[in-house]
């Protein structure tokens, strides 16, 4: 327990202090880290649904895009302050997730397929509802993050602190639920749903709660991204990238751990940007695929459990 506290404190010091101190003046690096954290936030949300809810979603792009559009439109058309609109973006994604709830009764690949189809609907809606979304032309000059107490959050370093806080808050919520009775019940449901329901656990309702929460987090991250890059169109907001990269990141890092998706997203995205891209300017994603394949062969549970095992071995050797 104490070791965990030390790791958590080290983690916070590193990301709030050391990372900005080291890279704060290099716009390219810090903006890549912001992009990696955007993936990380979605990956945490995806893993929360996958690990606790036991559902593999191929539809997180829908929540990402809905959050982005709701927040952007509220600031542009209704004059909402950016942070209030970002929260509303999360709420909008949660509301959108209600439409997929009937699919919670489906299992395994059937749920995955239903969500994939569901996600496609929102891209079409965003394209066709031109009166509201301006269709394929997209939204330009979306208001940026505000300046608070003289600190401009619209800069790369400001945005870094905002998205970092969003992701860490999501991880804290995830960790808290996982250690609660609700988390116990959800974990138990994977293998033994009937035996869990027999004990009074409302399984579908708990899964629905995880879906709503996962959509909320993803919507917030999508909304943040809209204000960070200040531009949206349907193909970008609902791009399959927002579904696929978080899955790759979560599985690479270890989707059954709370920190796995975060570590995985940083590792995958930054390796891709700074190493694979320079090795293979076109088609560098193929190395990403190979890296994921290697990780699955080497440690099916991902990077974080692999590192944990390494530490465990060293400690044994020392005693």
């Amino acid at each position: 327990m104490q070791q965990r506290t030390i790791i958590t404190i080290g983690f916070v010091v590193l990301f709030y202090g050391a990372v900005p101190a080291a890279f704060g003046s290099t716009d390219y690096v810090i903006s890549s880290i912001v992009a990696a954290l955007t993936i990380a936030g979605t990956a945490v949300a995806w893993a929360l649904l996958g690990n606790l809810g036991g559902m593999v979603s191929f539809g997180h792009a829908a929540f990402f895009g809905v959050g982005a559009y709701v927040s952007a439109l509220l600031t542009m058309n209704a004059g909402w302050p950016v942070f209030a609109a970002i929260i509303a973006g999360g709420a909008g994604a949660s509301i959108a997730s209600v439409a997929i709830m009937p699919a919670l009764r489906l299992r395994g690949p059937y749920f995955a397929l239903a969500v994939l189809a569901y996600a496609g609907i929102f891209r079409i809606l965003a394209t066709e509802m031109e009166g509201i979304t301006r269709g394929a032309a997209g939204l330009l000059s979306i208001p940026r993050l505000p300046t608070i107490l003289g600190f401009d959050l619209g800069t790369n370093i400001g945005s870094y602190y905002v998205i970092l806080t969003i992701v860490l808050a999501a991880m804290a919520a995830y960790a808290w639920i996982r250690r609660s009775e609700i988390g116990f019940a959800l974990l138990a449901m994977h293998e033994t749903e009937d035996a869990t329901r027999i004990l009074g656990v409302p399984s579908t309702r708990l899964k629905a709660m995880m879906l709503v929460l996962s959509a909320f987090i993803t919507g917030i991250v999508g909304a943040f991204n809209a204000h960070h890059i200040s531009f949206l169109d349907p193909d970008y907001a609902f791009s399959g990238v927002w579904t696929v990269l978080p899955i790759v990141a979560a599985i690479f890092g270890g989707f059954r751990t709370v920190s796995g998706p975060f570590i995985g997203a940083l590792a995958i995205y930054l390796l891709d940007q700074f190493v694979f891209k320079s090795l293979l300017p076109t088609g560098h994603q193929i190395i990403l695929g190979a890296a994921l394949g290697t990780m699955i062969l080497l440690s099916p549970d991902g990077l974080v459990p692999l590192l944990g095992r390494g530490l465990g071995k060293k400690r044994h050797a020392a005693t």
Partner: protein
Amino acid sequence: MLRLENITVGFGGLTALANVTLEVGARELVGLVGPNGAGKTTLFNVISGLARPKAGTASFNSVNLLRKPVQARARIGIARTFQIPQPLHELTVRQNLIVAQTFGAGHRNARRIDEILDFIGLKRKAEENAADGLALSEHKALEVGKALATEPKLILLDEVLAGLETAGKRQFMQTLKRMHQEAGLAIIIIEHDIETILALCQRAVVLDFGKVIADQTPEEIFRNPAVMRSYTGATPGA
């Protein structure tokens, strides 16, 4: 307390239960016997909500059971164990009980969890992983512990003694007796072993091909030639 009337369950063309009528009062301890495939576990599934009857009515303390989903039946006081133990995966023994208490009983009471651990003899294994840290008899005990943690009024025990060696069985029977006497529970127990039924129950119900063919005291049941023929193929005294 529990009242089933004309319950009929079919899977495709097969009739698993035909017009089963059964009443169990508070604090009763009823043995449910019959050959394999007679419909005993199906009857438990109907009561606990895992199987839906084609016809018939079921009520528990005057509440219509058939309208209630599985999890709601736990909350009104019906608990069951599974023939093949179903520990909650990825959790410790204690966490298994905590889930049962939180959702089944609707409150948290750490002292009660300790009592139950003590009662089922798993106090020393409380922090072990429930799915792979336990022996068979301990798995069976955990099944009973989970059921108790939901604070039930009626427990359905599906072959909790099967597969245990004699000493373990005797000990487990003591536990069941205490459970019945101290907690004042109604119990329906599925069991193949005649001696166990004779030792535990005041009443035995015999199912055969989905029908109730006898509902008497255990002594009467095992002197009933028709029952013995259908149940074991053996004759009394053999």
